[in-house]
């Protein structure tokens, strides 16, 4: 009996400690105790994960190669025995080639946008219990990485740094349910927010784009770039985010939403860059790659809309450049637009 009561005391003490930690950490604002604990954790994790990377590099490459071809799985079964020997030899070489290509694309993107970046490797892909979409990078405050910096790869936006340790940093991916990014439609002034959709059974795109203007024209295939935040933190302007996949037309809704496919394959991140200094001026749509094919042919309506915007684009860009010197904060224009909308008479939206 003494034993039982003693263990109840132990349980009580431990649970109290847990609750105290939970409350301290949930309060936000970087409590020194939990911050110190995380710093210590990052310090331990850095060397361990570096060692594991060295050991498991070739193994994970083989696994990824096998996973990439689900259609050819039967064939793989037959060839596996012969293949594994060759794959092991080629693995190291392929890895180097692929990575140099990725690095080149990343440098190209940062050159177009005028971003100053620090290159990094994505180390982990999963989180405890699997709700959060975060990855760890092998760079930290020692390399100049700070909290609230934009993370990109060769294709576009990856996410933002939420925590930076000495040697590692944690990145909240843009597909995470808690992530929201201010965004703008390519070639227009239509702005909105892109938020990650949390994991769900229903088959939906991983991102949702919510336009602040309910009467704005959006079409499938239009591309989206970041709007940029005040002072370039957490998001620098002009980074490609995604492509509109499906427009949800809900009559009477205050804002228009669309499902968006991200340009970055967040499940296969390897080399990424942390933007440590933003561009001097907004690169607008300069970072977007040229459109493949010519989607304007498909839709007459869209064609007309596009031509108009193309003509307006230059003037608008010049006009905007001047006005955006006082960089709008992420929710600045959002709040304005939302408060303006209900006051507008219904017809005003149709004139556009």
């Amino acid at each position: 009996m003494r034993d039982a009561s003693r263990s109840r005391v132990v349980l009580g003490v431990l649970l109290t400690a847990c609750v105290v930690l939970l409350v301290l950490d949930a309060r936000g604002g970087g409590d020194p105790v939990t911050k110190g604990a995380r710093t210590a954790g990052a310090a331990v994790f850095g060397p361990v994960s570096a060692a594991v990377t060295t050991v498991t590099g070739p193994v994970s490459d083989t696994y990824r190669a096998a996973l990439a071809a689900p259609g050819a799985r039967e064939e793989i079964e037959d060839l596996k025995a012969r293949n594994s020997e060759l794959t092991r030899q080629i693995g190291a070489q392929e890895r180097d080639e692929g990575r140099s290509g990725e690095l080149e694309r990343l440098l190209n993107l940062s050159g177009l946008g005028g971003y100053e970046i620090v290159g990094a490797n994505a180390v982990t892909h999963l989180t405890p219990q699997g709700y959060a979409d975060t990855v760890t990078l092998d760079v930290g405050t020692r390399d100049g990485v700070r909290r609230d910096q934009t993370v990109v790869n060769g294709d576009g936006l990856v996410g933002r740094v939420v925590r930076a340790g000495t040697d590692t940093s944690t990145v909240l991916l843009l597909t995470d349910g808690a992530s929201t990014v201010g965004a703008r439609l390519e070639g227009s002034e239509e702005i909105g927010t892109i938020s990650g959709a949390s994991r769900s059974i229903a088959e939906t795109a991983p991102l949702r784009f919510e336009l602040l203007d309910a009467s704005a024209k959006v079409g499938k295939g239009e591309r989206i770039v970041t709007l940029g935040s005040h002072g370039g933190a957490p998001f620098v302007p002009g980074v490609p985010v995604g492509t509109v996949e499906k427009v949800e037309d809900t009559p009477g809704a205050l804002s228009r939403t669309a499902q968006v496919a991200p340009v970055v394959d967040v499940s296969a991140l390897d080399i990424v860059g942390v933007v440590v200094a933003g561009p001097k001026e907004d690169p607008r749509d300069a970072v977007l790659p040229p459109k493949p094919g010519d989607p304007k042919e498909k839709d007459g309506k869209e064609k007309a809309g596009k031509k108009q915007t193309a003509a307006e684009k230059k003037a608008a860009a010049d006009r905007k450049k001047a006005s955006e010197e006082d960089a709008p904060a992420e929710d600045g224009p959002a709040a304005d637009a939302e408060s303006d909308r209900p006051r507008d008479p219904d017809g005003s939206g149709e004139d556009r």
Binding site: S7, L11, G41
Partner: protein, 182 residues
């Protein structure tokens, strides 16, 4: 004493393997098997409820602190601590089949997963919704249970062996001696 060291060693190994190795595997559904729960269950099954609670607290806290965890520190520690205590108190009844540890592990995993989601909802975590829970909880449970025989039985055997010379005659549970070849 020897068993205490063995338990600490197992726990450290589980946390490191979980965060450094398992979490980087590109597994389906974006969830991973939970080794730490399994090791805590093994420690609690072969020890007292206080030992289980303590092991759960330490293991959970380590997972809370190590990157890339993005939840409040203490959330996982609280649940694993409770799970360790509950499993530790179960242990008294004898005459279980050798499948008993697996059942306990499944129950503990399910409870911890649901508890994690529940605390998330209470704290207003925008990522925890009904749809997400419906994917994450069954997937985690399935993966953990697939892995559990390969973690539970070796861990139990090791812990059992460590105190064999001290308490050889006490509480010799049949599922321990029958399930594992000596």
């Amino acid at each position: 004493m020897k068993r205490g060291f063995a338990a600490i060693g197992l726990l450290i190994a589980a946390v490191l393997v979980q965060t450094a190795l398992v979490d980087r595997l590109p597994l389906p559904w974006g969830v991973a098997p939970d080794l730490v729960i399994l090791v805590v269950v093994a420690i609690a099954l072969s020890g007292t409820s206080a030992a289980g609670a303590f092991a759960g607290f330490c293991g959970g806290l380590a997972v809370d602190v190590l990157p890339p965890a993005d939840h409040e520190i203490g959330r996982y520690a609280l649940l694993l601590c409770l799970a360790g205590y509950a499993v530790g108190s179960l242990r008294e009844s004898n005459g279980r089949s050798w499948l008993w540890p697996l059942g306990v592990a499944a129950g503990a995993t399910l409870a911890v997963c649901l508890g994690f989601a529940f605390i998330g909802m209470v704290l207003g975590d925008p990522r925890v919704g009904l749809g997400a829970v419906a994917v994450v909880v069954p997937a985690t449970l399935l993966m953990t249970m697939v892995l559990s025989p390969f973690v539970l039985y070796p861990a139990l055997w090791l812990l059992r062996r460590m105190d064999h010379d001290e308490f050889a005659a006490i509480g010799d549970a049949p599922w321990l001696s029958r399930g594992v070849a000596r």
